[in-house]
């Protein structure tokens, strides 16, 4: 009996010690880790917009974060948008509440710094305060509107959809006509060698340049990628050649990955869903902004 007690006590003590060491280490490193993730995300965004690592991002370009919320209360649902009024959150944000028919319910200024808007807790608090009691606020997603000297040049959309195994987390860049500028797979757990190929350039590049019309009816074809097209997708030929192939294949179906048709279909369907839904939403938001003459950053 005495033995058991000693064993239990010692095991507990060692577990507590181990937990303390790990906990302390986590506290000391979590900020640096978050910072790294943020830097990586920024880099992904720049790369999607066509600025590879090292290339300078023009100063006339600006990124504006738009946050979307689903607001439930009083048996009704509406969509709330938190839009910046100026670059970098200098002038605060504007909260626009739009009902499901596309009519504006309310608008209100929200004094929120950019850093506070980026952090989920402070952002949700601010929005909950604005909509008032009795309403439930649920953060839906965030979009980035990219402008160059005031003109919109692209949208950066992030989204999540069901892959073959678990969720696939992607970021998309689309131009103002919703043609795809780039696709990046941020996170996935597909099978290595099969579905995991979705993060390879030759697969992602198939989506590049697909116009909105083609995307609406995108299909997956089970066939090997023609050798010359594959070279173009892997970036092994010159810029001109790549553009020519992109033009030639822009309305065609996506070639399925060998042994991973389901993953391919999931990505194609997911991308289609993200872009078509966004196209509808931004049209509604733009209409409201225009009708009500709201002062927003983009």
């Amino acid at each position: 009996m005495k033995n058991i007690i000693t064993i239990v006590v010692r095991l507990t003590v060692s577990c507590l010690l181990a937990a303390t060491v790990m906990g302390l280490c986590f506290i000391f490193t979590s900020n640096a880790k978050k910072h790294n993730e943020h830097v990586k995300e920024q880099q992904v965004m720049y790369e999607l917009l066509g600025y590879q690592a090292g290339a300078k991002f023009p100063e006339t370009m600006a990124l504006h974060e738009v946050y979307r919320f689903v607001i439930t209360g009083g048996g009704k649902q509406s969509i709330g948008y938190l839009v910046p009024k100026g670059h970098g959150g200098e002038k605060g944000f504007l909260f626009v509440n739009i009902d499901l028919n596309g009519a504006m319910l309310a608008q209100q200024n929200v004094a929120l710094s950019e850093a506070d808007a980026l952090a989920p807790e402070t952002r949700n608090q601010a929005v909950t305060k604005v909509v008032g009691p009795g309403y439930e606020v649920k953060f839906a997603d965030q979009t980035i509107v990219v402008t160059n000297s005031g003109h919109r040049v692209a949208y950066l959309l992030s989204g999540k959809f069901q892959g073959f195994k678990t969720f696939v987390n992607v970021m998309l860049a689309v131009d103002p006509a919703f043609a795809i500028l780039g696709l990046e797979v941020l996170e996935h757990e597909e099978d290595p060698g099969l579905g995991a190929e979705i993060d390879q350039d030759y697969f992602k590049n198939q989506f590049k340049g697909k116009p909105f019309e083609a995307l609406k009816t995108i299909e997956v074809v089970k066939a090997p990628i023609p050798a010359d097209y594959l070279e173009a997708l892997n970036g092994k030929i010159g810029e001109e050649g790549i553009l020519k192939f992109r033009e030639q294949y822009k309305d065609k179906a996506v070639y399925a990955l060998t042994g991973a048709t389901i993953s391919t279909k999931a990505v194609a369907g997911g991308v289609q869903g993200i872009v078509t839904k966004f196209a509808y939403r931004i049209a509604v938001l733009d209409k409201v902004v225009k009708e009500q003459q709201l002062a927003v950053a983009f």
Partner: protein
């Protein structure tokens, strides 16, 4: 076990006469699964080296406090703690390296070689010797992994450190896991042969 344990002897023992892969035949799963290229072998080797040294020293420091009935859980706990710490530190301060090494680091918890060194050496010997033993074993593992990786990368994909040196792929079979066993087996035979040869030349029989 030799009585005179100088630091140098402990290190060379880990690399040569008691090499974890070729002599002790421990941790064969990673040796076979991951050593497809020199770089992979090196990455895993470095990670194992750190975990081995830290765990050996920790266990050696606390050896008198560990109850003999629960020593294995304690070892596992120690290894898991160090693996977590290294994982977090790498992710925070060396994101580039972490992107390549991340999956290997998490695998180390289950490595037989580390537990075995703690059980055989660190829980009996002084801290200083445990440190050198851990270093030697870690280096031995790293070198073993790199040698296997070298052979497999050269024969399997005709390259070394990702650079194409042969211009063709001699035997694609060598990058597959099953070939790992062949390489390890042949290497074992090779090192044993060298050892026998060496001992004979010294007249040690």
């Amino acid at each position: 076990m030799a009585n005179d344990k100088s630091s140098m002897q402990l290190i060379t023992r880990g690399i040569l006469s008691e090499n974890p892969i070729f002599k002790l035949a421990l941790s064969m799963c990673p040796a076979v699964g991951i050593s497809t290229t020199v770089m992979n072998g090196f990455m895993l080797g470095i990670a194992v080296l750190f975990v081995q040294v830290f765990s050996s020293v920790t266990i050696s420091v606390f050896k008198n406090l560990i109850h003999p009935r629960i020593r294995i859980p304690t070892y596992t706990l120690t290894i898991a703690t160090w693996v977590t710490v290294i994982d977090l530190v790498l992710a925070a301060y060396l994101p580039e390296a972490y992107a390549k090494m991340g999956i290997f680091v998490k695998l180390i918890v289950a490595f037989a070689i580390i537990t075995m060194r703690l059980e055989m050496f660190a829980c009996k010997e002084p801290v200083k010797d445990s440190f050198w033993d851990g270093l030697g074993m870690g280096l031995g593992f790293m070198i073993g992994m790199m040698v296997i990786g070298f052979v497999r990368e050269l024969l399997g994909s005709g390259a070394i450190l990702g650079m194409d040196v042969l211009g063709f792929k001699p035997l694609l079979f060598f990058i597959l896991p099953s070939a790992g066993f062949f390489v390890v087996g042949l290497m074992m035979a090779f090192f044993n042969w060298i050892e026998i040869f060496y001992k004979r030349s010294k007249g040690l029989k």
